[in-house]
Symmetry: C2
Subunit: 246 residues, 2 copies
């Protein structure tokens, strides 16, 4: 599908607002996606005000998209609404365990991707903010999320100011396995990553960061184990405070 294959992450937006009609259409497209048991265990928080964007920006490490995008959508795993319904109907729901955390994460992500596809069909551009999971408690405070509502991902949406080149992908056969997982030999690994390693942008990263391999840029600069440990512990704390059995 042409639209899907033309996807680029857009980080620079024109100073043009998105109409209410289009926003409604994006959200309606989002909620038509498959979801577990059709329970719709999600909520979407729409941020368009400068005030809220200014409060959210530092929680996303001041990535410029949060302030610059006309539309910021925080997509949450929400089992509060459903649980409230259950209480009013003489029963109790149970969602605060690992299985439901993952189910909720899947449903929120599938919904988010439908919104992205719909947005791109309107000529809009999107960016996913993975930083959402780093600061769930703080984002919850800014958006007044109650217990039972956990931010999973954030999308910034706007008309592209700059449309970058398509980013690289590993060869398709490097990520697809037929019938059984085919283990990679060290020759396979070298072959799979050859193109990525030889991109001018990759070589630039290695030099700029004073590393000897591209892999080190990922593990020692961009996604350090110490950061991941720190944010995992923080996330676990937030979930346990919400009563998660984790």
């Amino acid at each position: 599908m042409k639209l899907l294959k033309a996807h680029r992450t857009i980080r620079k937006y024109k100073k043009i607002d998105i109409s209410d009609e289009i926003i409604t259409d994006l959200l309606e497209s989002g909620i038509r996606a498959s979801n577990t048991g059709n329970m719709q265990l999600y909520s979407i928080i729409v941020t368009r005000s400068q005030e809220k964007k200014t409060l959210l920006a530092p929680l996303h490490f001041n990535q410029s998209m949060v302030i610059d995008a006309p539309l910021v959508l925080t997509i949450c795993f929400d089992f509060k609404r459903f649980s409230d319904w259950c209480v009013s109907r003489n029963t109790l729901a149970h969602f605060n365990d690992l299985l439901w955390l993952l189910n909720g994460t899947i449903d929120a992500s599938v919904l988010a991707q439908n919104i992205c596809v719909a947005a791109e069909s309107y000529g809009l551009g999107i960016c996913y903010l993975g930083t959402t999971l780093y600061n769930t408690a703080e984002i919850s405070e800014v958006l007044s999320l109650p217990v039972g509502v956990i931010p999973v991902t954030t999308l910034t949406v706007g008309y592209p100011e700059v449309v970058p080149e398509l980013t690289d992908r590993l060869p398709l056969n490097a990520v697809v396995h037929f019938e059984e997982y085919k283990n990679y030999s060290s020759t396979d690994i070298a072959e799979i990553y050859k193109e990525k390693e030889s991109l001018p942008s990759s070589m630039q990263f290695v030099i700029e960061n004073k590393k000897t391999t591209l892999a080190q840029v990922f593990t020692e600069v961009r996604y350090k184990a110490s950061d991941s440990d720190f944010f995992s512990v923080k996330l676990l704390k937030m979930l346990r405070e919400q009563g998660f059995e984790l």
Copy 2:
């Protein structure tokens, strides 16, 4: 977007195979989706053989789609390939914590949804199998998944034999919040779920299951706390055996 809004889950498929060209296009559309740091921490296991379908079916509680669909895709969080690359490039990757489990789940889900949209653009129908997370260890065995590869979700894909009616959704304003989360009063909850509760199919569920409310069908029949506890503990065990700090 018309295509997204016309989505139905398809559980009955025609006995027609899907061409290699279309399957390749679906997979290529999948991997163009956004993913964390463009590290592509996922793998897709393609099942077309009757032998593997027969082994997978009981792990998905014998849902007929697994056998009947010409194409079954198990979409996995895969940090093995990337970690192997890191080792060969003099560094170590660290992905087995909660943050990366959720990042990996998001990336796998976003990829899965791109495949679904591409499939529907070809007139194919899809069904997500949430049962994947119930039996990750057993599915890993059937598909020979090594440590570092965790099944997240499964799609069955085929040409629709029957196209059902659109399923219900809560009113859009019931799941969307502007600027801040708006708490629901008990009147709001009653209003939000009114239509769902009054559907003939919902009333049928209540009678068939000898319950007094639709909510009870969800909590006491379809998604019991005891099942969820059982499968969460099982999933946690599998992840801990893989070295996850959980």
